[in-house]
Structure formats: structure tokens, C-alpha cells
Symmetry: C2
């Protein structure tokens, strides 16, 4: 229902300290917001800020009806408990999907705000019309922001609220023996890698025609040019010869993550507006 | 710290309707409680109880300082939203570990009350000194009470609060093609089955020496005796010829589930007593 108070969705980013990569990430996200008509603000805070001061700022943002999405850029300085901060962001505004309650809802296949990278990969697979039902997917890396939620979206029931992908899923990690990693990847129809180890996935580990999705992004020194460059976890030039689908780094997953942040902000804004409208009508 | 008000842990079971299996389960749990010195009460409620009446009873139990653990026996009648009920049980008294916030904490490797069946299987593996680190485990069945939390405890980092098992993990389910199920099980060092399909796992699907853990429990008609009997998901008589370790049905996992319910009740009682003491001191 339309009302007089309609406005664009609003995303607030909280950036603590002066980590160069974090500043770039936030800048790119805010640029994307502007492009799609989401208004935004970046709260740049000193790295010396105390946990209690940060919690107080989040309280204000949680209570502010003009803010729909709150994004706390990680990592935070060592003296701040990241988990406490993630849990403190209102579930309704948690556009990164990192609140423990939202993670629980995702793992129970319930409608919720889902972490942007796995959500973006799901969208990438869907839009590319890659079959997942009954297929075997291997996830390499068990992070709580990518590997774990990815495994959840891949294996769970497509008839439930998260519209998951009904694949058989294997999760590998730092303690998977290299021979097992190779054997399992080689069996997979879809391989999703998020480890931060450049070149981990090689040509002889991939089944011809398989889909390879690379979440890794590491800055390395390029001997050819004498400059630094960004690379993924997949030996792209060689793996692309056997893969049926492959994502590049940079590009590929990164822009999808940003796009899903926009989607989550829109979804959050819509729900919050509806609940404010309901209150108004009642 | 000891105080005047010390008492035994107390577990309250909420049993709705007259499902025979549910009544047996609750009776067995209450018997186990008595054996280990946990006091208990079963609230037997009519199957016609409304959701709001049930929520009101849970509110009382949540607020009752004499109750440490609350167990709502599932399934509930169709007119009651099970998820709503599970989420309404106080996280601190949620001895089944089904509250969405506790599920989220488990999936983030955080200290929490963990669902009893996967917790019992973890204990069974540990006490049997079966190596999991870097091994390949296959979980068959993706239920939210067994398969999903089991996969979590198997694959996650042993250095984190849940003391997980650092295995490579594959999760299979109803849409895994039979040939894939066989191939993956055959590769596994540990196979954990929770599907409710009698005899699903056969001798030729198991690697010699592997560990086979059977969570299934189905009542079937026994032609030999003309009576009904309980069977698991594993063709026990034949699989035991190749397996290194195997759990029987009945026995095996069932008693471990009950034991972990007792442990969870004790852990909940201890924490609640500590927090009451802290209040008293302050």
C-alpha cells in the first residue's frame, strides 16, 4: 500500500578503522547503492572506538526508522567481539545475514536475510540454468560467511522457504587430505571454492563440463608486469579448458555479492515499510 | 558456589495428544531422569489444545525458576505451528536444542544446547576412539533434528566451542541418485544414516572397516515371528560383516540420545543456578 511517507531504501555502512581493502569494499557497495537508487551513509569510526560505543551507535541505527539496512564491515579491530556486534544488529536490518538468529533461520530453511556471497552464487547458478537437483556439489572451505551457508543452500529442500538446490553436497576444508580433495572435486558437477589459496584448484581436479565457481580473491605479485594483481583459488587459464562454466576473478562472484546486498536492503526496506504501514493503519 | 537453595536439576516434558510412540519416548526419558537424579514432570495436554494455550503454558515454564529443562515432544498436532513452539522455548532451557537461535549458535560453532541425537553420536564416536580428523564422513538424510546438525558437528573446526570433528563431510538425501549414494558411502570412513528407510544401507555400500551408525527406527512386521519389531536403516546382519564398528537398532543411538538429554538438562540447570547465584550476590 502506497502512503505519503514513501521513500527510497536506506543502507548504512559502519566502517571501523582504516583497513584499505575494507574501505574499497564499502566504497564499491555504496556506489552500487547509488546506481540502483538506494540512499546510503557510511559511518567512518576510529579504530580505537570501544565496543560499548559501537554498540551504542548500533542501538541508534536499530531504532532509526530511516535506516533499513545495517552493514558492519568486517574485520573489526581485535578489542571488539565481532560475534557480539553481528548479533546486535537487528535481525530485520541485518542485510549481511550474520546475526546468529538469521543464521539459524537459514539453516532451518526459513525465510530470512541470507549472507550475500552464497545468495549471489545461488542466483548465478539459477540464472545460468545450471541443474542442481540430485547433482553432486563440492564446497571447498568451511567459513561461516561462505562455505557453511553455501552448503546449506545447496543441499536443502527446494520446496522450503529458502528455495534451496537439492544437491548432494560435500564440504572440504584445510584438513581434507589433498588426494581426497582431488577425488571428490573430480566427481563433482559443481565445485565452489572459497579458501584464499591461489591456484588450489587445478585442471586435473575437475570433471569435463563441470561448473567451477571461484570465491577466492588474493592480491599477488605478477612477475610479468611487475605489479600486483587479484587472483582466485582456481587456476583459471587451465581449468577453463575442462570446465563447462567458470567464474573469473576479479568479476564473477564479487559483483553478485554486491548485487545481493542491494537485494537484501530492498527486501528489508519493503518489510519494514509494511510493518510501519500496518501500525499506522491499526 | 554452593548455596542454601541447591536442588536437583528439573526437566519438564510437554506431551500433546495421545500418540503412542511419543508417550513411550517421553516415559523412557522420564525414567532415565529418575535414574540419574533429575526430577521431572510430564505435562500431558489434550490434542485439542490451542496454540495460544500451549504458548501460555510455555511462558509459565520459561519463567519458573524451578524448571531447568523444557522438552516439547514432537510431532505436535497439525493446527499448532511446531517451529513457533520450538522458538518459544527459552534458549536457556531448550534441552532439545531446537530453538532457531540455538541452531544458529551451533552452526557458528558456539557454545550452546545441541540437539541430543547428533550430540549423542559425537559422544559415541569419541568414546569409541574413532578418528574423525581429516576422515570422510557421509551423512544420509537431511533432517533438521539429525542430518543437518550432524553434518555441522562432523565438518566444523575442533578448536571452536562445539569441539567439532574436522571431517570432510558429504550429505546425501532423497534426491541423491542411488548410484551416487553407493559410490559416496563406499568411499566413507564413517556413514551415519537417518532416513527411516529400512535396509537402505547394504553390505556392498560400505568400505571394509568403516564405522556405520544407524539412527533409523521403524516398526515392521516380522514374518518369522508373526509379530512387529523395530529395525534401522542398515541391513545390520550383512553390513556388520564388513564394518569395523556398527550400532544396532534398537540400542546404539537411541540410548545415547536419552543420555544427552540428561546432559543438556544438567548443563542448563548448572548455568541457570549460576546466573541466579550471580543475581543473589549482586
Amino acid at each position: 500500500m502506497k502512503n505519503e511517507n514513501q521513500r527510497a531504501p536506506h543502507l548504512t555502512a559502519v566502517l571501523v578503522g582504516d583497513n584499505a581493502a575494507s574501505q574499497t569494499y564499502v566504497k564499491n557497495k555504496m556506489k552500487a547503492a547509488a546506481e540502483v537508487g538506494i540512499t546510503s551513509e557510511t559511518k567512518q569510526l576510529p579504530k580505537t572506538i570501544s565496543e560499548i560505543e559501537l554498540l551504542s551507535i548500533l542501538t541508534d541505527l536499530n531504532n532509526d526508522d530511516n535506516v533499513d539496512g545495517i552493514l558492519v564491515q568486517l574485520p573489526l579491530p581485535d578489542h571488539i567481539n565481532e560475534r557480539k556486534i553481528c548479533n546486535f544488529v537487528s535481525c530485520d536490518k541485518d542485510v549481511d545475514g550474520f546475526n546468529e538468529k538469521n543464521i539459524g533461520r537459514l539453516c532451518l530453511d526459513m525465510n530470512t536475510l541470507i549472507p550475500c556471497t552464497p545468495l549471489g552464487i545461488k542466483e548465478l547458478i539459477k540464472r545460468s540454468e545450471i541443474e542442481t537437483f540430485g547433482k553432486h556439489a563440492v564446497v571447498v572451505g568451511r567459513s561461516k560467511t561462505v562455505g557453511m551457508p553455501m552448503m546449506m543452500l545447496l543441499h536443502a529442500d527446494g520446496r522450503h522457504e529458502t528455495g534451496a538446490m537439492d544437491a548432494t553436497v560435500t564440504i572440504c576444508h584445510r584438513f581434507t587430505p589433498p588426494s581426497d580433495l582431488k577425488q571428490l572435486c573430480k566427481m563433482a558437477d559443481i565445485v565452489i571454492v572459497a579458501t584464499g589459496i591461489p591456484g588450489l584448484i587445478k585442471e586435473d581436479m575437475i570433471k569435463p563440463g563441470a561448473t567451477v565457481i571461484d570465491v577466492g580473491i588474493t592480491r599477488v605479485f605478477d612477475e610479468k608486469t611487475g605489479k600486483s594483481k587479484l587472483v582466485g583459488d582456481v587456476d583459471y587459464e587451465n581449468v577453463k579448458k575442462v570446465a563447462g562454466f567458470i567464474t573469473p576473478v576479479p568479476g564473477g562472484v564479487g559483483p553478485m555479492t554486491v548485487a545481493m546486498l542491494m537485494r537484501n536492503t530492498f527486501v528489508a526496506a519493503k518489510k519494514l515499510a509494511e510493518s510501519r504501514n500496518d501500525k499506522f493503519i491499526n
